[in-house]
């Protein structure tokens, strides 16, 4: 297992190298540049040249790329052209917001999706099964931004139960130790902030978690249906084991392999940011950060942010693979 993990980690190097070249070339192929974006409607040629010189954008491409690699080697990604702050400082602000939202969304999708898929499989062909199929289809099909606005309209505007925007109410003071607001509230024993931060998470998590929920439910249903037809399940019943024990120890556990795969993939996707959800809820995460960087041709943020997201995605999938071996001892990596 250790060799497997080390090999996967070493594979990160060529993956990231290739990705860094791709991203570097792609963003420079876009028309316009960061100077024009930064200076606005009345940028003069002199001002554009000054910005380009300041950020080394007037140097040959290969020199720019090597300079970029050197910053990555120092575990930093340069300076944001828009804000003149270190990209890593902005990452430290944005990524916790994205993680918090992604975890909440995945928790929602797992807690609801797995039981839903399981019950649908057990009652295969029945009303509940068909209803869950329809619900999954709707969940996958509904545009996130529409769902988000609808949720806000019902639960916030009309019922006044939950907030509409942001991560925390402006009237709540919270000492930000980690930028994970829920964790910071726990660490600082701030009950009001904890409740407020959780309330702010509910609607965006539901909006963002609806598609993963639908996917998880469908995969769970399919996986459980497969396992239910296996000989060892019939044997377990024949041996006299109770249905709940059979479901927990034999059915669900063996069905978890494909389910954990899909959970890993969905989590990786969510950790790269969710532009539409973040925009509608004014959630300051990675999605809006990177989209703004594309608009502004903010090369350092794009280069650093995309590379960082790629690392996260690869690591999440590695964790999923390791999880396989834990779930199913028959799986051994060499």
């Amino acid at each position: 297992m250790l060799r497997f993990v080390v090999r996967r980690l070493l594979l990160l190097v060529p993956i990231l190298l290739g990705l860094s070249i791709l991203v570097f070339m792609w963003i420079r192929a876009l028309p316009g540049g960061p100077a024009q974006a930064l200076l606005g409607e009345r940028a003069t040629e002199q001002a554009v040249e000054q910005i380009e010189r300041q950020y080394g954008l007037d140097r040959p491409l290969h020199e720019q790329y090597l300079a970029y690699l050197r910053t990555v080697g120092r575990a930093e990604f340069g300076t944001s052209i828009a804000t003149r702050r270190p990209v890593t400082a902005e990452l430290k602000e944005r990524f916790p917001a994205t993680i918090e939202l992604a975890i909440a969304a995945m928790l929602f999708s797992i807690v609801v999706g797995i039981p839903l898929g399981f019950v649908a499989a057990k009652r295969h062909g029945g009303v509940l099964d068909n209803a869950s199929l329809v619900a999954s289809l709707i969940g996958i099909s509904i545009p996130i931004f529409f769902l988000a606005i609808l949720l806000k309209y019902v639960f916030a505007v009309k019922l006044g139960l939950l907030p509409t925007v942001g991560r925390l109410s402006v009237l709540i003071d919270l000492e930000r130790k980690t930028n994970f607001y829920v964790l910071d509230a726990i660490l600082t024993l701030n009950g009001a902030a904890l409740v407020d931060a959780l309330k702010h998470l509910v609607l965006p998590a539901i909006a963002l978690g609806t598609i993963p929920l639908a996917v998880v439910a469908r995969i769970t249903r399919a996986a459980v249906l497969d396992v239910l037809n296996e000989d060892y399940v019939r044997t377990a019943h024949a041996k006299g084991l109770g249905p709940r024990i059979v479901d927990a120890r034999h059915v669900l556990r063996n069905a978890m392999l494909p389910i954990s795969t899909i959970i890993g993939l969905q989590t990786g996707l969510l950790l790269s940011g969710a532009v539409l959800t973040e925009t509608v809820f004014a959630w300051p995460g990675m999605g809006t950060w990177l989209v703004d960087a594309i608009r502004a041709r903010n090369y350092p943020v794009l280069q650093g942010g995309i590379l960082f997201v790629s690392v996260v995605f690869v690591l999440v999938n590695l964790i999923v693979d390791i999880t396989y071996a834990i779930i199913n001892p028959r799986i051994r990596y060499s």
Partner: protein
């Protein structure tokens, strides 16, 4: 120049002329004496600044400029405490090959100073900027204790946050939301006075746009009244000049161009051009401006007008920045949609910005217009200045470098309990008159 206030917040020392002089010399001295290799304007307007007596500084310019007084109202010229600038390293930063310039001082981000009715408290980027009341303010003290700015990029999200009371007000209300707000007794709409212009730009370097008859045909083809009525939710008025009517120097008697497709076709015949006249018309995507909330809608309407009048339009949509602005600035768009929101109350900020020098976006050289704007900029007598700008407006609308079509009054939305907010045409509100009784 005199000051009638005498203390900074965070640094309760008197604001005196040496401080003002220091500020001007430090911040703007680089323009007057740029370091070698440092690009700056070819000829800086600023020359030097001296503390003449305890409460007076003298600013010396390199040439006469009547618009400079109006420009002093810009926030760029607000004076900062020299002690704060030095103590918190406003000038400090590092430069390296890989990362470029990185400011290291905390003046701008954690310790700004000023003399206004509010003081900086904290800034959580992307989340909120918090100001608190300055109890040492020399003027009318603020009625509210805290003033919090929250960035909410989505229009619907802003409205919903207002409806739930999470915010008490927001700027840049979309036309489609105005009816909802007006029909809600718990909310109110306020108008920001019109201080902008939206126009169809014409780049004369693309033939046959260099011919006056063709430009006049375009002006007569456009149904500006219809666009303003349909797309601006009652908050627009048809523009007949490149500056708002309330600004001095506006001329009521400029040449008018009524919507008349028949007249447009006659002009194209007179010009001797083959019809339909093929033109590319650029419009921006991914943007909403006060003078152009939905550029695509404006474009579609104008395209239909032009094609009715003998033009064939090829659309060219580009993301606002940097693609669209870059294309327009380089003169690559024969026709384009653009506009301008004024920065300070002087016609030079409109007409001078557009037409005082040769620019690729307009593609023309008209010495008569350049000269009259040069003279207007330096004329010290207000009446004479007003007449010069009025004459400039007449010349410009005769020459027709573009077709202005709208001035808008952008709207702000508030909860009904908010009182005392006075919208500024240039978005410079001080908030000290605002009350929240009953909110």
């Amino acid at each position: 120049m005199c000051f009638n206030f005498d203390r900074w917040y965070n640094f309760p020392a008197p604001l005196q002329s040496p401080s003002a002089s220091y500020y001007w010399q430090t911040v703007f001295g680089g323009f007057a004496n740029p370091a070698e290799g440092s690009p700056g304007p070819d000829d800086s307007l600023y020359r030097s600044c001296e503390a003449t007596d305890e409460h007076t500084v003298t600013l010396n310019l390199t040439r006469p400029s009547a618009s400079f007084l109006g420009a002093l109202a810009l926030t760029n010229f607000t004076i900062a405490s020299p002690k704060a600038l030095q103590e918190f390293g406003a000038d400090e930063g590092t430069v390296d090959e890989e990362t470029g310039f990185r400011p290291t001082g905390t003046y701008g981000t954690e310790h700004p100073s000023g003399t206004g009715p509010f003081k900086f408290e904290s800034w959580a980027r992307g989340d909120r900027l918090v100001l608190v009341r300055n109890d040492d303010y020399w003027g009318e003290k603020a009625k509210i204790e805290r003033l919090i700015f929250r960035p909410i990029p989505d229009n619907a999200a802003r409205l919903q946050a207002l409806q739930t009371g999470e915010i008490q007000g927001y700027d840049l209300v979309e036309p489609q939301d105005m009816e909802t707000i007006e029909n809600d007794d718990s909310l109110q709409l306020l108008d920001r006075p019109a201080f902008n212009v939206g126009y169809v730009g014409i780049t004369q370097s693309h033939e046959p746009l260099g011919q006056l008859e063709v430009r006049q045909a375009i002006a007569h083809a456009l149904n500006r009244e219809q666009v303003v009525t349909d797309f601006y939710a009652g908050r627009g008025e048809v523009a007949h000049a490149f500056m708002p009517p309330d600004l001095f120097g506006y001329a009521e008697d400029v040449q008018q161009y009524e919507h008349d497709p028949e007249r447009a076709r006659e002009l194209l015949q007179q010009a001797g051009v083959q019809t339909p006249v093929e033109l590319t018309f650029c419009y921006p995507t991914d943007v909403s401006r006060p003078y152009m909330p939905d550029p695509r809608r404006n474009f579609e309407a104008f395209r239909a007008n032009l094609e009715e009048a003998g033009f064939r339009i090829t659309p060219r949509a580009l993301p606002w920045s940097p693609d669209y602005l870059g294309a327009v600035d380089e003169g690559n768009c024969p026709l384009y949609l653009l506009g301008w929101t004024g920065d300070f109350a002087d016609p030079d900020n409109f007409l001078g910005t557009f037409f005082q020098t040769q620019q690729k976006a307009w593609g023309f050289e008209n010495q008569e217009i350049f000269d009259i704007l040069d003279r207007a900029e330096v004329e010290p007598e207000e009446d004479a200045r007003t007449e010069l700008y009025q004459e400039a407006n007449r010349l410009i609308m005769q020459f027709l470098p573009g077709v202005p079509y709208v001035h808008t009054k952008p709207a702000l939305a508030f909860q009904a309990c908010v009182e005392g907010y006075e919208p500024s045409p240039v978005s410079l509100e001080t908030f000290n008159t605002v009350t929240l009784e009953g909110c």
